[in-house]
Amino acid sequence: MRNRYSIAIRNPFSSLVLCAGLVLVIPTQAQQSPTNQDQINQQLLERVRELEEEVSQLKSATSSAAPAPAPAPAVVPEAPAADEVPVVNEVAPRLHLNVFGDGGYGFYSHVPNSFDFGSLDLFMTAQLSHQVSALGEILFISQNDNSVGVDVERLFLRYRQSDYFTASLGRYHTWVGYYNTAFNKGEFLETTTDRPFVYAFDDSGGVLPMQEVGLNITGQIPSGKLGLNYVVEVGNGRAYGLNAEPAQNNQDANNSKSINGGLFMRPDAIPGLQLGFSLRHDNLTVPGPPVAETIATVHAVFVNSNYEILNEGVLVRHVEPNGPVFTTSAFYDQFSRRFGAFRPYFRYQYFNAPSNDPVYLYASPNEDVPLNITGFVGRLNGPSVGIRYDFTEHSALKLQYDRFSFRGLPSENGLTSQVAFMF
């Protein structure tokens, strides 16, 4: 970097100024020393010639040198607005809307082959402030009687105080196991064409309480690289009975509230791994004696962009006062691997409920059972294999073969296809 001194010496115009100064000084000095006038004049003329030569040298040096670098341009403030990208699915400043749909064709041994409308799912979220948000989900789903039912699947207001405490109040999907909160409705997000039997929705005849009205609290537990999280839920619980709405939206059948708690970990060391369990208790009001229900689940899942490995086990205990204990056990294992747009998968599931269970005897018909039977209890187990093809980023085609064995009933083969999409 140049300093002021070097700039002054090398500037030819500065030298000229010096010469002019000398010329102005000459008369003064001549008046002060008249005896050596000729000698002084000669010296001054020589000095002028020297200076003129120096000036000419500096001029030539300056013209041959590279031009001085231009001053750095001033930093102009960016205009980020021009670079901002519109947010996908933002239909209003606060509202995001996603629509899920699915349909397909399937045939099983004991029911007529049919095209299936599937469902239309309107999923809405809104960020009301940095800490408060809302979620709503309205579902239009085809029924076994060919009608289309409308269901407010979820509606809750959520307050996120920090990563360690988030509370939601309203109707939500219970944290019973992994599958119910990871996939919910919206078949596009699921790898398979349907949910595991044990996680069938309760309003479709599933055995577990999948939806509830109440309070849900969740958050992280300071645990470093273990990545521990907790979930606590308090709600009205599930109603059982033919044609009963499982989620008690407005009036609980009793004063007892369901309590559900869960812990899960996502260790930093293995991204994609989640291990967890949940424990839920409720007192059920059923046509017979009241029943205490305890549901325990455990899961080990590993999900990344290529692999999906899901393992879950469920144990349900129904206890009558001073009466017998009825235990239902179930599990499923699912493995899939992505190859580009294709994702083949395999699932094995097992479900076994006592035939005389005092609760399931009064459950609504299960629409997800391949056989057209109602109030299913007993054993169901068997494999499913299939392939999912994502032909666009937001639409997928699935083809799945099932073979189920039942206790006391003939085995069932089924082939289903499904187109699932979102926009």
Partner: protein
């Protein structure tokens, strides 16, 4: 009936053993190391953070962590789809591609999780401008887009796993 109840736990245990084996096979090879031009992680100059791990970066960009230690809200910003530094960053830090990222936040929202996707902007200059203008912002730019002087605005680079972007051990590269 008794035979079935005996087989069920055995099948379940076998499934978990198989799960452990497959998990071991599928996770071998982490973390992914790259060897191209560095991608510089930047935060607001007022942010006291100087170093982040790859795991912490993933949590910040995937909304698993919503606040800095200072209490400021985390505001990640990312370039739009197609930018090579975005593709490389997602692959190395999040083990995702663009479609995976979209699906992740869609599924997170659908599952009721409070997750906000990163703000998307169209240029490295806009990334720097956003980070300079928001105390809790975090973003990333190519090394050639980060000058380390006043022309970048009020931003600074942070180390990743203890390495600066110029170090040989720096993992996030294109």
């Amino acid at each position: 009936m008794k035979k079935n109840t005996t087989i069920a736990p055995l099948l379940f245990v076998m499934a978990f053993v198989a799960f452990a084996i497959v998990l071991w096979l599928t996770t071998s090879g982490y973390p992914v190391a790259a060897a191209g031009d560095p991608i510089v992680v930047i935060v607001n100059a007022a942010n006291p953070i100087d170093n982040l791990s790859v795991v912490e970066l993933k949590k910040l960009f995937l909304s698993d962590r919503s606040r800095w230690d200072t209490g400021k809200a985390v505001a990640p910003v990312i370039l739009t789809t197609g930018a090579p530094e975005r593709t490389a960053f997602l692959k190395i830090v999040c083990n995702m591609n663009d479609a995976d990222l979209g699906k992740y936040f869609l599924q997170a929202a659908f599952s009721g999780k409070s997750a906000t996707p990163p703000k998307e902007v169209g240029s490295a200059a806009a990334v720097k401008s956003f980070v300079a203008g928001s105390a809790g912002a975090i973003g990333f730019v190519k090394g050639s887009d980060f000058h380390g002087d006043a022309s970048d605005g009020s931003i600074k680079a942070v180390k990743v796993d203890g390495n600066a972007s110029g170090d040989a051990g720096y993992k996030i590269r294109m």
